[in-house]
């Protein structure tokens, strides 16, 4: 990371930059390896990090959140503010990419790129994706729906759905894909699911802060419709991530989302 206003004495500094950077990195790594010796060893039950906080999540996890998957219960109920921030990070990154890559005045360069992008009818890809896209969509919905019962959840399920959409765009071209997902649909999908996520999470924060019962039934553990808010939130996050993955891929590969 050299400073790049190239005045005279900075040239002499730049010559030593690789040496300084390498010694800095080796120094930091050596320091960290020495610190490892003083840190608690791997996998001991008595480590300080396995204290009352993690024990509470394990013991009361099912009771408080109703989710079999303790991690899903933790990220969507105990520490829900982090996951809300995370969904905002994804939303911020997508809008930043739209600012940079979405060229609204399609100059000569972009139209030329579209001809190159239009996939000539690639029989192998189309037949493979004809089989795969359906299965991937079903698997993505499964991962989202069972976020609170088995590993998975909104983020991984959403990116599986996004991958299915990318495969479809690659094999059948953007013109056919933009029938069911173009920029306006994308905008509404991401905005409404984020609004839904923010409103429901805000509601449960507000209720919790003022010590009022949030009145959301937790259902019988193990059922699909159990664990209170976690399922709808997973679905909302899944839609946000699926839309984001598709939009980022199309913006990168074609620079234009019709």
């Amino acid at each position: 990371m050299n400073l790049f206003s190239l005045s005279a004495w900075r040239h002499r500094l730049l010559r030593y930059y690789p040496l300084v950077a390498l010694s800095l990195t080796v120094g930091i790594t050596a320091l960290l390896l020495v610190t490892l010796a003083a840190l608690p060893p791997l996998g001991e039950v008595g480590n300080p990090s396995h204290n009352l906080v993690s024990l509470k999540y394990i013991e009361d996890g099912l009771g408080d959140t109703g989710a079999l998957n303790i991690v899903a219960g933790m990220i969507l109920d105990y520490r829900a503010f982090d996951t809300f921030g995370e969904a905002c990070v994804l939303f911020t990154a997508t809008c930043a990419i739209i600012i940079l890559l979405r060229s609204d005045t399609p100059d000569a360069y972009d139209t030329m790129l579209h001809q190159m992008e239009e996939p000539h009818t690639n029989i192998i890809l189309q037949s493979v994706s004809f089989l795969l896209v359906g299965i991937m969509l079903v698997f993505g919905c499964y991962v989202i729906a069972n976020g609170h019962l088995s590993p998975g959840g909104g983020f991984s399920g959403g990116s599986i759905l996004g991958a299915a959409l990318i495969l479809y765009v690659n094999s059948y071209g953007i013109r056919r894909a933009s029938h069911f997902i173009n920029f306006t649909i994308y905008r509404r999908l991401v905005s409404f699911s984020l609004l839904f996520y923010a409103a429901f999470k805000g509601y449960s924060f507000f209720m919790g802060a003022n010590h009022l019962p949030s009145g959301i039934p937790l259902g019988k553990p193990g059922d699909l419709l159990s664990a209170g808010l976690i399922l709808p939130l997973n679905i909302a996050v899944g839609c946000v991530v699926a839309g984001t993955v598709y939009a980022i891929y199309v913006l990168f590969s074609q620079g234009e989302m019709r």
Binding site: L113, G152, G153, S156, G162, A163, Y249, S253
Partner: protein, 86 residues
Amino acid sequence: MYLEMALLLYLIVAAVTVFLRQRLLDAVIIYASYSVVLSAVWLLLLAPDLAITEAAVATGISGVLFFVVLKRIQAMDAEHSLDEEV
């Protein structure tokens, strides 16, 4: 025990090879393989949530994005060589 050692060794070797390879395409392919092996390591650490997230999100999105950026850069090169000829 030795499976863990082997996978972790692969991670370090892949990280160093990415740093040494000059061609971008090799570096990106090795990074994608690094990410897949890392999601296997999460399974060994008994964190299946991480394994599916790493596989779907880290390899699925950032791995694919690196490839798309390279494709776009080659497309820009082709477009520029088109300009020089004209």
